[in-house]
């Protein structure tokens, strides 16, 4: 009995001019969003590759100087654009794209794409992900609000039930048919999108098909939950108009209100320090030690004594290497501990905030989907952190090479003058994004919340189905 109902619903939806128009608009918007993002992705990728090449040239051609000056000359590294940012930009516009690597400091990524945006960004950004997150539920609302309430109002529900149809079969048939109509609309877009994404440079390495499949699954869960919830509302609403009003309020709460409320709430419960406070605390810890009672100068004096003792010397000048280089290495090690502690704590807090927002998805599924979607697209905070850690590791490696060179150079304040031969010893920054398994792990809480939504919404639908009565 379910299949004939599903078939009828499918045909009815496709014959409905309103659905066709809404579907055409949505598909056009998704297509335009993908195309624009694809073009922007190509441009960004080309810009960052060109900038990285130029930066390497600058580094190699910086001329002769002592290695410590080269440490302060520094180098910029660029975050490669995640291929799936074309689908879901996630946090990309709000986290930096470039890190300046220099001696003594761990800098945060700078140059946020959002800084370059016009005031129009306040109205949000159209990506394929936001289209699916916001417009597809709206289409489901338009498709389902009258599915049961409208039939009750028109009187067809009475006729259908009078034929001995089980209400549960009717509801499941409708869900299957309307879900099928939506699938027939979105599947071609999804396949074309996945193929286009698969052709982007770096998509293979990023596990293109695997990510596409997981993203498809996450969005299928989200839309399946919304479909069932909408049908449940349509089943209990007294009129189609009442069902539409309820569903639009729910849509607005999920799409507009919940993200703002959740981020405000989470910032209140798990606050992050202001940037100035964060940097002041970190600089203080570098100078005074993590506990604030172990000044850097004293620690370095103690280090000098230990070094002299270890080498059986009484004066720095007697050491068989440039002691300044060793001091630089040691102070970098000490600063590294402080950076790891402070950045680690800060990033852990940001990840805790993200996790909390994901779990508030129990109240609004969009929050869970957003979290899963950006994780699977490789544009969430965990992946930004992965990049920042890789950049910092590169900084430490390159500063270490420079400091070792200083240490092995003739004694003097900052070692001897060196040139291109040393600069070439330092490899260009090469970033390997985390594998898809990392993304899937990061997406798991969001996917779990979505699964709970699917289970809850379908249980609610099956619970109200037997109570389905005509007017």
């Amino acid at each position: 009995m379910i299949l004939p109902i599903a078939r009828k619903e499918f045909l009815d939806a496709w014959r409905d001019g309103r659905f066709r128009w809404a579907a055409a608009i949505m598909v056009a918007l998704l297509g335009v969003a993908l195309l624009l993002a694809w073009q922007q992705g190509q441009r960004t990728r080309a810009e960052r590759t060109a900038a990285a090449t130029l930066e390497r040239e600058n580094w190699l051609n910086q001329g002769e100087k002592n290695s410590h000056s080269a440490g302060h000359y520094g180098v910029y590294v660029f975050k490669p654009a995640a291929p799936f940012a074309v689908f879901d930009r996630g946090l990309e516009p709000f986290v930096g794209t470039t890190v300046f690597l220099e001696a003594h400091r761990q800098n945060q990524a700078a140059f946020l794409p959002a800084q370059d945006a016009t005031a129009m960004r306040r109205f949000g950004e159209l990506t394929a992900a936001t289209g699916l997150q916001l417009l597809a539920p709206l289409l489901i609302v338009l498709l389902t609000f009258g599915a049961l309430a409208g039939e009750r109002e028109r009187g067809t529900l009475r006729q259908v039930l009078s034929l001995g149809v089980r209400p549960r079969d009717l509801v499941l048939g409708k869900a299957l048919g309307l879900g099928g109509a939506l699938l027939a609309l979105l599947l071609p877009v999804a396949v074309i999108g996945a193929v286009a994404l698969g052709k982007l440079p770096g998509a293979d390495a990023a596990g293109g098909w695997l990510r596409s499949a997981w993203l498809g699954g996450a969005y299928a869960l989200y839309l399946a939950a919304i479909l069932a919830a909408c049908l449940a509302v349509s089943a209990i609403a007294s009129t189609a108009r009442a069902a539409l009003a309820i569903l639009l309020v729910c849509w607005a709460a999920n799409a507009i209100l919940a993200p703002r409320l959740a981020s405000d709430l989470v910032q209140r419960v798990l606050p992050t320090p202001k940037l100035a406070e964060f940097e002041t605390a970190m600089n203080k810890a570098v100078q005074e030690g993590m506990d604030g009672h172990n000044p850097r100068n004293e620690r370095l004096q103690e280090f000098a004594q230990q070094t002299l003792k270890k080498h059986g010397k009484t004066r720095i000048e007697e050491l068989p290497f440039n002691f300044n280089g060793l001091v630089m290495l040691e102070s970098e090690r000490m600063a590294g501990e402080v950076f790891d502690h402070h950045f680690g704590k800060f990033w852990n807090r940001l990840e805790a905030q993200d996790r909390a927002v994901t779990w508030t998805g129990l109240a609004a599924p969009l929050l869970a989907l957003r979290s899963a979607s950006m994780a699977l697209a490789g544009t969430d905070f965990t992946q930004h952190r992965h990049f920042a850690v890789a950049a910092e590791q590169h900084r430490r490696d390159y500063v270490r090479v420079l400091n070792e060179d200083m240490m092995n150079s003739p004694p003097g304040h900052h070692g001897g003058v060196v040139g291109r031969e040393l600069w070439e010893k330092l490899p260009a920054f090469r970033y390997d994004p985390p594998p898809p398994a990392h993304s899937v792990r990061a997406a798991m809480p969001g996917l779990m919340v979505l699964l709970l939504w699917v289970a809850g919404a379908w249980a609610a639908l099956l619970l109200v189905a037997p109570k389905l009565k005509p007017n």
Partner: protein, 233 residues
């Protein structure tokens, strides 16, 4: 056979149907007359299992509706005052859908033949029903009763709003169905059609069957006068 035994249904203390005993045998057309709120539609809803009686029971072919409403519905064809169809489907597609839901599969030719038998020509049957008149929609309802080979037919104000010609066509079909052994219960305000078509007529007042006449008893009387007399009693 359609039967009620001491059927009682109350809404918030108001008695809509009061210890109603009714029996419609196969081949009979029972016209249930009564003013608005007399309990006609409530009685039909009890037969369809949409309402559970407070006491007594409704039976279809001897089986209690309350015990198995789905089984009861599968033996009934129901034609409401307004047969509502899916406007984006043709007449034949509507009939196909409804008869499939009733568990009867028919070929396209069979469906067209059923619609034709109900008075709907092929040209109209293959048109979307958005343009159908009420009479045409009622014919699809009759075709559905034919398609499902229902043992009982429940009609709720079936001729209300039909023009005389459509009303006549409808009653011809109704009599044909009764002639095939279908038990027909027709709730109506149409005294003319009741006298023309019914084998028995009952007048429902305040949920009670005030009086019941055989067709022969009302052949030569003014049914309207009789009806009003029972209402004012």
């Amino acid at each position: 056979m359609l039967e009620t035994l001491q059927l009682t249904k109350k809404f918030n203390g108001h008695v809509a149907v009061n210890q109603l005993d009714l029996r419609v045998a196969p081949g009979e057309i029972f016209a249930l007359l009564g003013p608005n709120g007399a309990g006609k539609t409530t009685t039909i809803n009890c037969f369809l299992g949409f309402l559970a009686p407070d006491s007594g029971e409704a039976r279809v072919n001897g089986k209690s509706v309350a015990a198995d409403p789905l089984a009861a519905r599968r033996q009934i064809a129901y034609i409401p005052e307004q047969v509502v169809l899916y406007p984006r489907f043709t007449g034949v597609e509507n009939l196909d859908y409804f008869s499939t839901l009733a568990g009867r599969r028919h070929t396209q030719e069979e469906l067209l033949a059923l619609l034709k038998k109900a008075g709907l020509p092929n040209e109209a049957a293959e048109r979307r029903v958005g343009t159908y008149s009420k009479g045409m929609r009622q014919k699809v309802g009759i075709a559905l009763a034919l398609a499902t080979e229902a043992k009982a037919l429940l009609l709720d104000e079936p001729t209300s709003g039909l023009d005389p010609a459509a009303s006549h066509e409808f009653s011809v079909l109704l009599r044909k169905l009764a002639g095939d052994g279908v038990a027909v219960l027709m709730a109506t305000h149409d005294l003319f059609r009741a006298r023309e078509d019914a084998t028995r007529v009952g007048i429902l007042v305040h949920g009670r069957l005030a009086v019941e006449y055989a067709a022969s008893e009302i052949k030569n009387v003014d049914l309207e006068k009789l009806y009003l007399k029972h209402l004012s009693a």
